[in-house]
Amino acid sequence: MLKSLFTFITASLLLVGTAGAAETVKLALIDPLTGPMAGAGQPALEHLKFEAKRINANGGIAGKQLEIVGLDNKVNPQESLVQLQKAIDSGIQYVTQGNGSSVASALIGAVGKHNQRNPGKEVLYLNYAAVDPSFTNERCSFWHFRFDANADMKMNALTTYIAENKDIKKVYLINQDYSFGHAVSKAAREMLKEKRPDIEIVGNDFHPLAKVKDFTPYVSKIQSSGADAVISGNWGQDITLLVKAAAEFGLDAPFYTYYGASSGVVTQLGDKGVDRIYQINEYYGDFEDPEMAKRQVEMYKETGWDFYYLRLSTMLDMFKKAADKAGSTDPVKVAKAMEGLTLETTNGEVVMRAEDHQIQLPMFMSVMKDDMKYGAEGTDYNFHKVARIEREDVTLPTTCRMRRPK
């Protein structure tokens, strides 16, 4: 035991001592890679590695080869800071993370302080999925870039879609009982009131986070309220079990969700999700663009994961474009080049807004269907596009007052 511990410690110290080779630029993914939440981090890691190959074949990042390093944080903010320090010590200047606004909050604070205390050794934090709106509003930071629409933007797009759907008269809100769930509920009520004052909110439920095994009582409440539509910010098992209970109960109201297509949901729901579960996201499962279809097929074959995180591809492409423009991989120069940068994607033009480092992009409402050309998770189910919400209808003003380095 002691001997293996000793070799283990020496090995870890040796690892720490080696810095990156000159001609690579490393991007560290700090996300859950083991344990119960690994299903959220692993696909992102595989996606990044898959797309890094394409970037490297096209000349890399400002001429340097991009290397993806996975660091396991177990979705714990404190552990994430240890992993961040490990990344910084091995010479990594770019980190990315997405799962959990608690972790994102810790990383924004730590990266900001590190850059303030270590001028010349700056680190950039590229956020691909932590959606707390405060990160690009009152807490905005020059060192943070968000490549996902924030929670309020998603709700803006979602309510725009609902507002145009005149059949919907009664809406039910069901969310997890913690800060994110409450924020979703509040945004939904405010935005619906503004866009469609005639819509009645017939229910506003909060259930314990990740503890409910049987949603039937909630579903029966939704049924008896006569709701035409349900809005939910649930993720993980809370969305799967909720929709499953609705299907078994025979509730036909559609579920408008943030995370209805995240990994595992399609497999677990199967037929029960068809025409019942909708998702607002920056992409969908039709893959009309042959280039995207090719990536989906190849990535599933190579890694066993779907090409789900279009925003990770957007992130790497923008990283490359900014670094090429700056002619350097120095984080300060890349960050300055990234501000206001536009990129032509398969969905049209997206732009990284300079004022708050929040990406501006079109969003899509999609619904789960059977017999899709490109099925998700090896099934025939995937999410079919029902509406496109333009960039102008997604965007929201910001309260950010960015402090930039000289």
Binding site: E79, A106, S179
Partner: protein
Amino acid sequence: MSQDMSVPMQPSKSRTSLRGLVPWVVFAAVLLLLPVVFQGNSTAFTLLNVIGINIVFALSYNMLLGQGGMLSFGHAVFFGLGSYAAMHAMIAIDDASYAGEGFWAHVPVVGMPVIGMIAGGLVALVLGWPFCRRAGTAFAMITLGLGEMVAAAGQMFPSLFGGEAGIYGNRMVGPQWFGLELAQSDDVYWFMAFWTFVAVFAMWAFTRTPLGRMSNAVRDNPDRLQFIGYPPRNIRFMIFIASGSFGGLAGGMAAVNYEIITPEALGLIPSGLALLMAAVGGLGVFYGPIMGAIVVTLMNSMLSDYTDASILYVGLVFLSIVMFAPRGLGGGIEQVRVAWREGDLARRLPGWLSGALAVGLIIVGMVVLVEMLFQATHGDDEFAQVLGMEFDAAALWGWLTAAVLVVLGAVIKRATNKLREDQA
């Protein structure tokens, strides 16, 4: 469980002699030497700082379980609330030092663990009384409920707990003491070393007080204690408060180290971590949880770089310690030390060494097996790499090697069982 794991504390034969000082001098020397060894390596300092926090956390937990016989599943409540109190104080210092006046403008960040300690103690004082009537299962269930309740409340009151994003502060504010700027992790190290030393010493001193002795008595035989006129509930309550205070102290150290605290820190996972560290290190030996904290922290932060199955290994280590070495790492060392003192070591060593060899072989075999299984089911490499060697999951010889290692270990263990039994 606690009674199987525990060994009665060895009474010190020379309370006043200098010999009792030796471990403390060594401890202080190690703390002073570590920065020289790891100079310029911030990751090492970051890990050392986390280890320092975990040492205090695990030791404070062991005051309850190892010394008082109270199995708690809610110890992170004190850690987390102490951390929240310290963080709110740090924010107050930040605000006050802008204004340049007020009480908080004169409080140094170095003193935050004291704030955490007071908060942890107060929480235990307020909540503890109804819990301490019974030890055992009832106590375990109540603390489990307490932990869940506080963790849920943490998510529900964003003004106090900051919601999912938590609350965050800056440690580089207020008056500086001892020239500690607290900018980098190697600077923070001195802060950690100081408080770790103070807390460890204070907790050791606690075991020497009459109350500390009584806590062992309440663990071993509460009925007799009641009979001779000490109500066990009062004693448990006092241990609970002391343990909560030191848990809060660890939380105050964490607030300065991480500069952020989120409601997750109050939950079941960090409470389980305390139990894990204490049990791996050994509940019956004072320094056991220190070793447990070091091993578990390193496994948590480093092991996942080498294998995707890291959590499985943490679980296996816990399982095998509970099953095969219920006295933990510290208990093992203590056994060797006692044998050496009694001149028994030479006679016992063959049995122990052969046992260690057998366990080592079984472990390597199991690791090869687990890694190959992992690669065969959903790995991205073709080979499982163990100790610099590559094992091909598709070929038979890899599986054979693993099986041979495990069988060999088991055979050696069986063959040498007699060596250990005779002298036990």
